[in-house]
């Protein structure tokens, strides 16, 4: 029996796959990054739609349900992405300030 949450999750993943493809076509990232995210979305789709495929994994990790594993992995992934976003934002902020300062000093008006 297909649960409503599986349908909702599948729609979400399909939308994300589409967006991944769209931004790839708009040259936001290269083929390797595109392939990586397609792989991630496919794994997510499989876990959501065919949880029985992962019974062996849940047993070896001593997790009661595939959903629990799903949520745990997703949470860790989100935290890692947040951390790297923070790093990149800080780095870009510094670069931006360096450029702004250089321009201000080069265009001094006396």
């Amino acid at each position: 029996m297909v649960l409503p949450v599986q349908i909702g999750g599948a729609i979400f993943i399909l939308v994300m796959l589409y967006l991944t493809f769209l931004f790839y076509k708009k040259d936001h990232y290269d083929r390797n990054v595109f392939a990586f995210w397609v792989f991630i979305w496919c794994i997510a789709f499989l876990m959501l739609s065919f949880p029985s495929l992962f019974t062996g994994l849940t047993e070896s990790l001593d997790v009661a349900r595939i959903t629990d594993l799903y949520v745990s992995v997703a949470l860790m992934f989100v935290m890692a992405v947040t951390f790297f976003n923070f790093l990149y934002v800080k780095r870009n902020e510094r670069k931006l300030e360096a450029i702004v300062q250089k321009l201000a000093l080069d265009r001094v008006k006396k």
Partner: protein, 223 residues
């Protein structure tokens, strides 16, 4: 140590949307005998930069924050071989008439002179609470006894400026400067300055106090 003259001092005015006050601030600075003035316009959206006359104008093309503006001004002043700098806000809340007192205090041996606003009933309550919180944190963490940690009106010798150069781009710059001064054991003093508030909602408030407190702890741990 040779006595600093007014011509040795660069006055750094950071300004953001201060078209109402900037001309008056520059005029009053010049009336005190200081002619080396830098105005750093932090991408104002009003006519601030157009109104700057008789001063060096440095313009940020995007708004980067007070700390970034002060750093740009300080970098320029050091390139001009300034022996001392005095930071003053462009919103008229720092009286330029007190500039000579900062210079006198630098000549008395201090490497940094902090301006401390008198606490009056005019000072908004949220600012008073924020000040108390941050003041005590600085005293405990950095052993610096400064009555007004958040006042941006301060004078530094060029040597001290290099020692306390900051990375903050926002309103935490004043606190970082004091934290760096404490860590580097820079000789400092404090003078009382007038308390002028045009806008009680402007500036740092009690909530900002918590952010500054967090940063003070972060700097203590990471540096």
């Amino acid at each position: 140590m040779t006595r600093l003259k007014k011509t040795d001092c660069w006055i750094i005015v950071s300004a953001y949307n201060e078209s109402r006050h900037i001309q008056d601030v520059i005029k009053r600075i010049r009336e005190q005998g200081f002619s080396s003035i830098i105005v750093v316009d932090d991408a104002s959206r009003d006519k601030t930069s157009e109104l700057v006359k008789n001063a060096v104008l440095l313009q940020h093309i995007i708004n980067c924050g007070k700390g970034a503006a002060m750093r740009t001004g300080a970098t320029y002043a050091l390139k001009q071989s300034a022996k001392a700098v005095i930071f003053i806000d462009g919103d008229g809340q720092h009286a330029p008439e007190e500039l000579p007192r900062f210079l006198n205090e630098l000549n008395s041996g201090a490497s940094i002179v902090f301006g401390a606003r008198r606490e009056t009933r005019k000072m908004p309550i949220q600012r008073r609470l924020g000040k108390i919180l941050v003041r005590n944190a600085v005293r405990i963490l950095y052993k610096v006894r400064v009555h007004d940690v958040l006042s941006g009106y301060r004078a530094l010798t060029a040597h001290a400026l290099n020692k306390v150069m900051w990375t903050s781009s926002d309103y935490t710059v004043e606190s970082e400067m004091i934290a760096n001064a404490g860590r580097e054991n820079v000789r400092y003093s404090e003078i009382t300055i007038s308390t002028i508030y045009h806008d009680k909602y402007k500036g740092v408030n009690f909530l900002h106090g918590f952010i500054i407190l967090g940063k003070l702890l972060w700097w203590k741990v990471t540096r």
